[in-house]
């Protein structure tokens, strides 16, 4: 299975959200204008960033341990690759990505130096207002904390402002309310909500279906039968 797309319309925060939510393992290749980088993903975490001159090189090394030996990378160097080839790239939109699931054989214990929640928040901090409005499309939206929000947030390394915003997400405050109460600027608020939504710490509050459908159960049953027979 391959997930492909363009960073202009589907940002790094969005891709990582998909990989993280499903704890996917595989390799994410991003072809930027100036370089191609293979990001090795284990259980949704990015464990290595490896620039390659040709994409096919990624598919030659399927065993992660052997790859590290070949590249002469120790644990500390793994973290350096992410610092060097991922973090500065988070704001670059001129790239296309493709994620191939499976494929790489990972050992059980691969160290994670930058938890994915932290990277997603970092990517969200680099979004423009227009980009954040893709998820935060309405000031009247209401968010609530997810049941496991605290474990997700622990690894996200939130700033004080972000913590304050999270505190105000309570299932009753609208985005507009949070903007007024927190006194942070709109861009910071939208970026924070975008990031918290992407790491699954918050979610949209479910809208109750308030209007009863104007159809009787008998007629509905008839309609269901009709559709079945089409």
């Amino acid at each position: 299975m391959t997930l492909t797309g363009d960073l202009k319309s589907f940002s790094f925060a969005d891709i990582l959200q998909v990989l993280y939510s499903d704890k996917k393992s595989g390799v994410l290749i991003v072809e930027w204008k100036d370089m191609t980088v293979a990001y090795y993903v284990k259980d949704g975490e990015i464990v290595l960033a490896r620039p390659v001159d040709k994409v096919f090189r990624v598919y030659v090394d399927r065993d992660f341990e052997k790859l590290l030996e070949k590249l002469r990378l120790n644990e500390r160097a793994l973290a350096e690759t992410i610092k060097k080839f991922l973090i500065p790239k988070l704001e670059n939109r001129d790239g296309i990505f493709s994620f191939t699931k499976g494929f790489i054989r990972y050992p059980d214990n691969v160290p994670v130096h930058f938890p994915v929640e932290q990277i997603i928040m970092e990517a969200s901090r680099r979004l423009s207002l227009e980009e954040t409005e893709r998820k935060i499309s309405d000031e009247l939206l209401i968010f609530e904390k997810s049941p496991d929000w605290d474990s997700r947030v622990q690894r996200a390394n939130l700033s004080e402002k972000e913590k304050l915003i999270l505190e105000l997400v309570d299932g009753t405050n609208t985005v507009k309310d949070i903007l007024e109460k927190s006194k942070v600027d709109k861009l910071t608020l939208y970026r924070t909500l975008y990031g918290l939504l992407s790491i699954g710490a918050i979610r949209r509050k479910k809208k109750k279906i308030t209007r009863k459908p104007s159809i009787s159960l008998d007629l509905l049953a008839k309609l269901i039968e009709k559709i079945k027979k089409l």
Partner: protein, 184 residues
């Protein structure tokens, strides 16, 4: 019985540009769908297809002599947003189609879901269309990308709008949701 005596039941088929709404209606309608397609002049949109819906499409399924189900397809482009409002009024439910091969439209799909949820809180199903194409994202990945959590109660189903059984399955899923909301 004249045509005006027949009670019309409405389901809205929404979704971003080129998600497959017209195809969805065409697959299941008992009449040749009435479309308001026009040639595309925007060059970016033209890369995807040659014609687009500018007002609405509709297809019809006769339930009995007194009732007909109308499937109303909304135009995909945001410049026709005002039509969503008109078509959403009085609808029993909404099916939002998403092109599973084109992540650049996922955010727009979420915006459409938000629109219908805020104005017409009625049952809604998301159909991750074009699953027959090799580069289609799985329904689960589409759901994550659209920030649809299990608690939100919006089912996401993988379909090909060309496949009649898939379209029927999607409609039945929506009808079951409608049934549950009546029984609640």
């Amino acid at each position: 019985m004249t045509n005006s005596d027949v009670k019309k039941i409405k389901i809205v088929i929404a979704g971003p540009f080129a998600a497959g709404k017209t195809e969805f209606i065409k697959t299941v309608s008992e009449i040749d769908p009435v479309t308001t397609e026009r040639k595309i002049t925007h060059s970016q949109e033209k890369e995807k297809k040659n014609t687009t819906t500018v007002a609405m499409d509709f297809g019809k399924i006769k339930i009995d002599n007194q009732h007909e189900l109308y499937l109303f397809g909304t135009p995909g482009q945001t410049r026709f947003n005002f039509m969503w409002e008109i078509l959403g009024e009085g609808a029993l439910g909404v099916i939002v189609l998403v092109d599973s091969t084109d992540p650049s439209t996922f955010h727009e799909a979420r915006r459409i879901i938000n629109f219908f949820q805020s104005r017409y809180p009625i049952p809604l199903v998301v159909a991750a269309n074009k699953q027959d194409l090799p580069n289609a994202w799985s329904p689960r990945d589409v759901a994550i990308a659209l920030d649809i959590s299990e608690e939100e109660g919006i089912p996401v189903v993988g379909i090909s709008a060309k496949n009649k059984e898939h379209v029927k399955k999607t409609l039945l899923l929506l009808l079951e949701l409608i049934k549950s909301s009546i029984e609640e």
